[in-house]
Symmetry: C2
Subunit: 506 residues, 2 copies
């Protein structure tokens, strides 16, 4: 009996790995498309992608996978919740059930409508014309409701969407944390803005030659632990990180020769994603046990290296003199403290992707509240612009001049990514809670940073987070690593300590 179950499990794993290998080929095609593919290659690429995506989908939804899973779910391998085998069975079962519950016709309809909605959105944003986008967003919402009904949910349809990006998360659980966070954060932002203090941000808008930015960015990425023998950095319009498998993790950035922050912190951010990818257990590659947990946990890694490390004073104790030697003209007269303050300027703004470390979270909270409300039916789609503007006024003290600067700025909703936004805020919350624990475990952590040493933190992350793959869902992982459930307190404490001191706004 046990012998035959071994065979069943091996068969499941062998299939999972083959499917992952197909998807990893797709990742190569996708990376190439975004970096180097010539313009006229688009049609051929689309055919290649359809072919491989179809193969992967067919192989994964093969009823034999269902039979293998059925044979395993109640067997010996699924007994211990956190064994490698139980992890793989649990997560493959979750993915398989989701894939089988959604009829192909709905998948195709969502794909068609979001493709059209996306091009309508591009034009609507250009013209700042929400009305033209409204019917398309309504269609997308309707389809995502159908989707939620197919896959099921614990309490409300929005949970089904959340689960796609943050498996196991529910609006009830994360809503509480995000609600408390908002209350504290809005009050704290008011204090900062009332402080009357302002860094000289012109410092970061001087001439930063692209070639030098590339050298400095790669140096920092390598220093924090992104392995360039197992990865690369290229240029794309929209920066991203993609894992093509063990030994091949690729990140991208874009350079602005008149602004230091964009590429540098972008590179640290993508390196954070990349270090997570490079830290996964390669022996389990191609199975859930060797894959990342959720968008939120992935984002916790990128935000930690970008902000908690990369925007820390101790980081710049080490890197500021090096930056001065590289950007001779821009930085010769700039002190460590002025530079540190400039890269940590807090300023309410309209555009999420340009927001600072503190107000960024408010951008996310607005989106989460609005999409949860319109998906639940509590907010009419037609009322999104006015609600958006009210919330920005209320939380950030500013009102967008038009919808292009407001509710039309992001690509997510037109693409059907409803339930995605909260993972950005979760990422920041996870990051702060993990980092607080890492500081306890490594007593001289920030002294190490100021010496250019990041290996202890990286190994701590590898051991406590990366190496587990999907052994724990995100919420459980937070408890296992930090001993406590997710809370907004560590992030608020971190923000208060850092920005309270910068802005005399404790």
């Amino acid at each position: 009996m046990s012998g035959s179950l071994d065979g069943v499990y091996e068969e499941l794993i062998s299939r999972a790995k083959e499917i992952s290998l197909i998807y990893s080929c797709l990742s190569v095609l996708d990376w190439d498309q975004k970096t180097y593919m010539p313009p006229n290659g688009a049609e051929q690429r689309s055919g290649q992608v359809s072919l491989l995506a179809g193969m992967g989908h067919r192989k994964f939804t093969d009823p034999q996978i269902g039979e293998l899973l059925d044979a395993l779910v109640s067997g010996k391998y699924a007994q211990d919740d956190y064994s490698d085998e139980a992890t793989n069975i649990r997560e493959l079962k979750r993915q398989y059930d989701k894939a089988k519950k959604v009829p192909n016709s709905l998948v195709i309809e969502i794909s068609k409508v979001t493709t059209l909605a996306d091009s309508v959105w591009v034009e609507a944003r250009e013209k700042s014309d929400f009305a033209s986008f409204q019917p398309w967003l309504e269609k997308v919402i309707d389809l995502k409701h159908q989707y939620a009904e197919c896959v099921g949910y614990p309490k409300e349809p929005y949970d089904a969407l959340l689960d796609d990006y943050e498996p196991g998360a529910t609006v009830e659980a994360i809503g509480k944390v995000l609600g408390s966070f908002r209350k504290d954060l809005v009050a704290f932002v008011e204090k900062i803005l009332g402080s009357g203090k302002h860094p000289d941000i012109s410092i970061v808008s001087r001439d930063y030659p692209v070639e030098k930015q590339e050298i400095f960015g790669k140096m920092a990425a390598a220093a924090i632990g992104f392995d360039f023998n197992s990865g690369r950095l290229d240029v794309t319009t929209h920066p991203f990180c993609t894992g093509l498998g063990p030994g091949d993790t690729r990140i991208t950035t874009r350079y602005n020769p008149k602004h230091f922050n964009d590429a540098f912190f972008g590179i640290l951010h993508e390196s954070g994603h990349g270090i997570y990818d490079q830290g996964l257990d390669r022996n389990h590659w191609g199975t859930p046990r060797g894959e990342s947990i959720s968008l939120g946990i992935h984002e916790s890694q990128s935000r930690m290296w970008e902000n908690l490390v990369g925007r820390s004073r101790s980081f710049w104790i080490y890197f500021h003199p090096i930056a001065q030697r590289i950007f001779t003209e821009a930085l010769q007269d700039v002190s460590l403290d002025d530079f540190y303050f400039a890269v940590n300027a807090v300023e309410p703004s309209f555009i999420r992707v340009e927001a600072d470390e503190v107000t960024y979270n408010l951008h996310i909270l607005v989106r989460f509240e609005i999409e949860h409300a319109f998906f639940k039916g509590d907010l009419k789609v037609a009322d999104i612009p006015s609600t958006w503007n009210e919330r920005y006024k209320h939380y950030l003290g500013i009102t967008p001049a038009n919808d292009a600067q407001g509710c039309l700025q992001d690509v997510h909703w037109s693409n059907g990514y409803i339930g995605y936004f909260p993972t950005y805020a979760l990422g920041n919350l996870y990051a702060a809670q993990f980092f607080a624990k890492a500081r306890k475990d490594i007593s001289d952590l920030e002294d190490q940073f100021s010496l250019g040493q990041f290996g202890d933190l990286r190994e701590w992350l590898r051991k406590n987070i990366h190496a587990h793959g999907q052994k724990y869902r995100a919420g459980k992982l937070v408890e296992v690593v930090t001993g406590k459930p997710l809370s907004h307190i560590p992030l608020m404490e971190y923000l208060r300590a850092k920005f309270g001191s910068l802005y005399n706004a404790g």
Copy 2:
């Protein structure tokens, strides 16, 4: 009846296109591996390649393909030899029969042995130690004999190998042409070397900054018609051209900052391959009717643009003043005629890939004669080095100092590519015969070159060669296009006219 045969043909074509799509994904993986893949990505890439190659092979050797072909070969579609349908049926049948005749065990054995032989060869070349390579070459020859017996041949086993690279070619047919060519060429080279004239080749060994070489090379590639909206140029150790499908043709080069010729003529060469690829009929993509004919015909396109166009005086009438403006220091004091002579220097040398336009052919003829002899059993493998050196002495008047400079220099034999070399010489012969006809059809062809106009030649090639795909086999194509069977006369006439004048050696 006819209706059902339509369905059979459509099914065959649909399968052929899907298989080609799989192989085009493999081409993306291969290009990436040679250009940008990080070193540690090799293992994952090897898994991806095995998976897709296996899929492609299984789909192509599916017995149902054989049944479809059997139903079609005697039907209405195969009646007219040169119809699109007959072309596809004929060439797919040829490929399918070859693939089915070779047992999988032999394919695997050849792959294993050549992989090992290749690494032995690398070391043997480093140490200039033919003896250590000899038993491996013997194994390769033995396996290729087994291969030839499996697939069959018209007259002798070597024909089976030739057919892999130059479908339909036989040693009897090409041997005659190459034999006459050798006789005339050896005599002509003697005349050149006896002329006492020497260009100042130091001109092309000055400082040619890489960034400027890239600009100039891309300008020339675009001018002759390589479409950069449907292609790219990157850097690799070993230059190549690869077609990833309609709208996506990629070429590579390598730059030597102290030598003009390597990258520039390399780029023209690869552009020639690329223009062929870009000129194929995209409506037939994925079927033989939309694919290139043979290595020899492909090489005729690259050599034509590299040599017959790119090393012509009229080409440099247009490009020399531009080169002078770009390479200000290297070329300011260099006249058109001195430059033209320098890029056309004829000098016997040991290394094939560095050989000039005239002696290059002798390098190939040595290889052809030797591999034909050892494959036939007329030459012992142990005697290759001495025979090689005798021939070099006889044809080129020089003797390699060691086997690394002699019979160990090329990668082909260790890789099992026996029968490949002659396609290089065939390429030059085809190129000259096509070019002679193009000059007749376009009376002011070379005047056009001197004005930087290459469109008429490109369109002539597209119409007469590229657009046909595999409608004609190489030998037939030569007759269709030029009205005569392949002959060495056009190439000798071209060489005599050009180099006779440069060297006073008519």
